[in-house]
Symmetry: C2
Subunit: 237 residues, 2 copies
Amino acid sequence: MSEHPPFAVAVDLAIFTIRDGALSVLLVERGEEPYAGQWALPGGFVEPDEDAEQAAWRELHEETGVERFPGYLEQLRTYSAPDRDPRMRVVSVAHVALAPDLPEPTAGTDAADARWWVVDDLLEPTGAAAEEAPELAFDHRQILVDARERVRAKLEYTTLATEFVAEPFTLPELRRVYTAVWGTPPDLGNFRRKVLGTEGFVIPTDAHGSPTGSGGRRALLYRRGPATVVQPPMVRG
Amino acid sequence: MSEHPPFAVAVDLAIFTIRDGALSVLLVERGEEPYAGQWALPGGFVEPDEDAEQAAWRELHEETGVERFPGYLEQLRTYSAPDRDPRMRVVSVAHVALAPDLPEPTAGTDAADARWWVVDDLLEPTGAAAEEAPELAFDHRQILVDARERVRAKLEYTTLATEFVAEPFTLPELRRVYTAVWGTPPDLGNFRRKVLGTEGFVIPTDAHGSPTGSGGRRALLYRRGPATVVQPPMVRG
DNA sequence: CCAAAAGTGTTAGAGATACACCCATGA
DNA sequence: TCATGGGTGTATCTCTAACACTTTTGG
């Protein structure tokens, strides 16, 4: 019982953002074997002097090319099937990150390319997207499925949606986050009542946003409030 | 970037049950260094040919002494602080298990002793319990705190409470599960309406239970139903 | 002045809260 | 027959779903 077989410990990241009204995730094209040329979630090995969360933050900065990542990070779960990496025994602590719209990523050190993908195009491709949709390396498709479900669920009972928008933001912007993640827009009136009625969800400013299209009222601007939970939750669909 | 420092990967288990109306957890007294003589969550190293969940099931059988463990198991989260084990770099994939009242456990191979502890006596000891309450080894206190919070939360929006009672069970028994986990009893009438009104939560039988004390009506017996979620959730407090 | 986008009001109904009350059983 | 525990009923209140309506702005 004093055996401890050696494992490599990695972190993988599902980094989500909203682009053009669609929930999107950052993928990298692998430059090395295994799965060279295939698309995968960004990630890397945990260093001897850091924990998994520190490793995830480090990769987040490396892969997005942003020094001060403006978003949110949390652990998702650990994937440990013995054959998940053909090279050796690798256990991966997957994380979920959320951010407001980020610049186009730069390909990292060991990645051939990096870009944003619309999540639905990867997981439920229809029409033209079905041709383009790549298979993901390793068990990353499963990680992506679990990560999306985590985000969907957390929008219901937390104020996490505000991590998808840059401050200051308008309520219609925030509502578009829910629309993108859930696939269907929450009722306008009920949405506003819920957000404004939840103490500390958003903090009003006295400034107005700029017009969205041609014509239309200018929305009020808000900042993130200190609240983290929404009780009772917003309901999906 | 092609370095993979070697880690040991372990599983730790927070095994909960309800004993005498209190949420209880199984601890083992460590027989070996580090932390010899201190109490800890049961656990062990992941073997080369199994994943973390299989390792957790294996430990569950070994530590409880039960061949066919009757309860529920899920991954909690992974703890990976570099100094969490003084011997070497150990990453632990913690799990939560729930079971109906189990027999007194047998001390495992590398444990000096094993017994059930009332969780509140460990985490918020008052009065006499404060003397007895041991400090837990490693970061197991934190794991226990997180595990209890997971269980509390899941009772709200899932049918998980039924994993704490042996089939067939009565509704008052099930209600005592909520009372033990939340610390306060849900309203009797509302509780029944919620459980019976949630399709597939419980399945009625035509048998009656045996009397609890001296006097009192005999409760109807039920079995677990196929439902897993409770929508909208039961509310705590 | 019209269309588009933001914001407000209103009504019906579901569900929860907080009880009071009735039933079955053993001593 | 009474205490004990199981089970039912109900008035009130809160919140939400659904939808109609008003306001502000650009062209």
